[in-house]
Amino acid sequence: MARCSALSKPSVRPDPVMASSTPVLAWSEWPCPLPGGGTRGESALVCDHSRRKRLLIIPALFEEGNRMRRITAEVMRRLGGAGIDSFLPELPGLGESTVALRAQTPGDWQLAMQGAAGHFGATHALAIRGGALVAPRGLPGWRYGMVSGASLLKMLMRARIVAMREGGIEETQPALLATGREKGLALAGYQLSADFIDEFVTLVPDPASPLADIAQDMVGGGALWLRAEPGEDEGQADALAAIIAMGLAT
């Protein structure tokens, strides 16, 4: 998309710190606040050179998190080259986290992201897809491809219905949701508690959020979270990084 390539080249300029090489991403441990008090170590992918502009990235959720992982890392590398540090924490219960997903609620995730923002000294946030539902409050920044909790849950329930139907078992979304709210539910391999489902299905992106919306037509091409298999797109990574770098340049 011409609009995006025109944006990307002038804005993502090499930073003196990173000019000689491709920015390296590293793992870092951060103290994740727990709902009852205290903290537990969780991991994050970081590009940290103690720079002034520091972006917390709240990842897409569930299977979409896998599909978006590569472009997220590519955006971090591009931002690193443009003088912007970035931090991609794991959500408790997903990815490399050592705790069980069934013990988490969306409120726990929001608390975790608030803690990550404080620990890493984030000045801005980029929430990807369902990540916007658990973004820390108060930070300016962006939300890309925002989606409601009900919509994500619907996709997960449909995946289960399709899979079960292949085995001759009929299920419906209303029945699954009722069961999930009462007892919890395994959806596409994700063990979600009753409390999680009850809370998550009501979540919608905050209309008063300070995060500016990035629609897919600003990034160009087909959204990577739709891909049947994880994919990559350098043009989309360029465009996303350019939108953020230009926003932080002012």
């Binding site: 299977e63 919509s151 619907k154 996709m155 997960l156 329930m157 449909r158 995946a159 289960r160 219905i161 399709v162 899979a163 139907r165 292949e166 299920e171 419906t172 979304q173 596409a188 087909g222 959204a223 979270w225 739709l226 891909r227 049947a228 298999e229 994919g231």
Partner: protein, 86 residues
């Protein structure tokens, strides 16, 4: 309307299946989908159905999607066209 539905549906499949420009145009009514494309698993089908609903402004009920609906491009297109018919 029918041409628009066809065009939009090809666009959605291009996004889901990561088809290169032009490849979606090569889909025929007999082109196999679910069960023919290994990448089109239950999660991908769920995403495909939800995207069809959003972009084509229709509602697909639980009892309407099964292996037959997604057997070929032609069966899927026929279903969506019927849903969008005035």
């Amino acid at each position: 309307m029918a041409q628009t539905t066809d065009h939009m549906l090809r666009g959605i499949l291009a996004d889901v299946l990561a088809l290169k420009p032009g490849q979606a145009d090569a889909l025929t009514r007999a082109s196999g989908l679910f069960g023919h494309l290994p990448e089109l698993d239950s999660m991908a089908v769920a995403g495909l159905l939800t995207e069809i609903e959003d972009r084509l402004d229709i509602t697909i009920d639980d009892d309407e999607f099964d292996g037959e609906l997604l057997e070929t491009y032609g069966t899927l297109l026929g279903f969506v066209e019927a849903k969008r018919a005035p």
